[in-house]
């Protein structure tokens, strides 16, 4: 990073969490600069989602520090972290099925500190639904949405928190090729608006075209860090994904 780069919005150092004897996240260092998209990569079970859960407050770290917008947030309850402006989506998409689309977005708007007025909330619901491509769908029950629309709705709810940092946990997974292009454009447009994003992703096209930098995890440890083309060519990363070549 050059000296001119702005202060990181998220700075994780030495983050560690064990479940019994399994160290799921082991001394991870990671930083997201303001306005950047950082990819968190790694094979299945390498600890990416656990790392996100530690950052968003679902789990408490055993040790290590997490600084978000200049404030230490490790060990804070999830609702406090959310109010500070750290929003996320979930690997298994979570929409509130018993509610309408508008109410799903409203869930992200109704608990701001200080609270928004009723008019601001209604106006923001419409704007956010339009933003993710669900214009005029506010009155529909969320249970009737297709898979990609559920993902859009979940993103709208996360954006409703007015986040400074967005954590996307495999938000692009399970989309078909044309939906994938739409999804990538949507994430890029969020970056263009100045939002900082940390994304866990397996879709390589998305990683190459979106990420400014990548951190690769394997078995809880950080094994590589750098520009996407660099880390994806790194022998340690290839070995983590594909195993050791035997005919070399």
């Amino acid at each position: 990073m050059t000296a001119a780069s702005p202060a990181p919005v998220l700075e994780v150092s030495g983050l560690t969490r064990a479940f019994g004897g399994l160290v799921a996240v082991n001394a991870i260092d990671l930083a997201v600069q303001t306005g950047q998209i950082v990819g968190l990569l790694g094979p299945n079970g390498s600890g990416k989602t656990t790392a996100l859960n530690l950052m968003s407050g679902v789990l408490r770290p055993d040790s290590g520090s997490i600084r978000f917008a200049g404030q230490a947030i490790e060990g804070l309850p999830a609702h406090r972290i959310a109010r500070l402006g750290l929003a996320r989506t979930f690997q298994l998409v979570r929409v509130l099925n018993g509610m309408s689309c508008a109410e799903n977005v409203k869930a992200g708007l109704a608990f701001h500190r200080p609270p928004l007025s009723r008019g601001e909330i209604d106006e923001s619901v419409d704007r956010l639904l339009r933003r993710v491509g669900l214009a005029n769908r506010g009155g529909l029950p969320a249970s009737g949405l297709t898979y990609i629309d559920c993902k859009r709705l979940e993103l709208a709810r996360a954006l409703a928190l007015k986040p400074r940092l967005l954590l996307l946990d495999e938000w692009l997974a399970g989309l078909n090729p044309s939906e994938l292009l739409i999804g990538i454009e949507l994430i890029r447009s969020l970056k263009d608006e100045g939002l900082s994003i940390l994304l866990v992703e397996h879709v390589m096209d998305a990683i190459r075209s979106l990420c400014d930098r990548c951190v690769v995890m394997n078995s809880g440890r950080r094994i590589a860090e750098g520009r996407p083309d660099e880390v994806l060519a790194d022998p340690a990363v290839i070995e983590a994904y594909l195993g050791v070549s035997t005919d070399a």
Binding site: A78, H79, A107
Partner: protein, 315 residues
């Protein structure tokens, strides 16, 4: 306000006046039946305030009800009646706060079992105290309260529970609880202090239940732990709320009226087997009407508006 709202308000007001005048026109049996109806309407609605949106099934109804009744049994002769009710409110609220803070992190089945155990725990504590300290197992409730007074107090409490329930449903707290009921993890990530929201509503609900117990105590003239902490009440309240539909404010009331009448009929006609029949009713409701009468009605009425659309499509 729209004309329909004014009409509904006027109808509600007129209905309330009729209900308030009822004790002057009915005999002792029907007054007693009306008291039972109001008692269970308030209990089931108060239960639904918390358990409806959060989907936490509480079997602690009788714990709070009994604490209310015992507050009156102990203090009824010593203090003015409003003060007794105020103290019952405070004790119920304090107990709900302690129980809420210590248990609402539990989920699903653990919470159900804990609340059931709580009622038994409180009952055993009262028995222990009475046997070892006061050396009496049973108390007389001598207060200057008539059956009509009980009826009017319950009616006022019913109005209060509906007004407060309506206000909560329109508030941020009510919205927060609906989100918690849908998905607690999402609720936390929307910035909702989940524990605070749950404990607040649990306490409001418990205060109403405690007050019903306090108001009902003079009806018995003699109470002992097995009467005040009768676990059947907890189950009856759950059945009523589920029959009506706990996801709407007025759902539990829809269930409490027919089931109070049914339980009344069963306990006089088949006193030996009434518990068995209540159990069968419970099973039937859970299997046949998972979202209650209100849920069924909403499904049917949602289907209705479609026919007018169909001819347009054909044309």
């Amino acid at each position: 306000m729209s004309p329909t709202q004014i009409a509904a308000l006027a109808a509600g007001g007129a209905g309330l006046v009729v209900l308030a005048l009822l004790p002057f026109y009915i005999d002792a049996y029907y007054l007693s039946l009306s008291i039972s109806l109001l008692q269970f309407t308030v209990l089931a609605t108060a239960w639904g305030l918390f358990s409806g949106p959060t989907r936490y099934v509480s079997l602690a109804t009788t714990a709070f009800f009994g604490v209310g009744a015992y507050t009156v049994a102990v203090l009824g002769e010593l203090l003015a009646w409003p003060l007794v009710l105020l103290i019952a409110t405070a004790i119920g609220a304090l107990m709900a706060l302690i129980v809420g803070i210590s248990t609402l992190r539990l989920s699903g089945l653990h919470f159900v079992i804990f609340t059931f155990g709580l009622a038994e725990l409180v009952r055993q504590l009262v028995i222990w105290y009475e046997v070892n300290k006061t050396r009496v197992l049973g108390r007389y409730v001598f207060v200057d309260i008539t059956q009509s007074d009980i009826y009017w107090q319950l009616l006022a409490l019913a109005v209060a529970v509906f007004v407060i329930g309506w206000l909560i449903a329109r508030s941020r707290l009510g919205f927060a609880l609906r989100i918690i009921g849908e998905d607690e993890t999402v609720a936390k990530h929307c910035g909702i202090n989940v524990t605070l929201a749950k404990v607040t509503l649990f306490t409001i609900s418990a205060v109403f239940i405690t007050l019903v117990g306090a108001i009902m105590a003079p009806r018995w003239t003699y109470i002992e732990p097995s009467i005040a902490f009768n676990p059947t009440i907890s189950f009856q309240v759950v059945i009523m709320a589920l029959l009506g539909g706990a996801h709407r404010l007025w759902g539990p009331a829809v269930g409490s009226i027919p089931l109070t009448l049914l339980f009344e009929f069963l306990s006089t006609r088949f006193p030996a087997t009434s518990t068995l029949i209540i159990g069968i009713v419970f099973l039937l409701i859970v299997y046949a009407l998972p979202s209650g009468v209100v849920g069924l009605w909403e499904r049917v009425s949602r289907r209705k508006p479609e026919p007018p659309v169909a001819p347009q499509v054909q044309a």
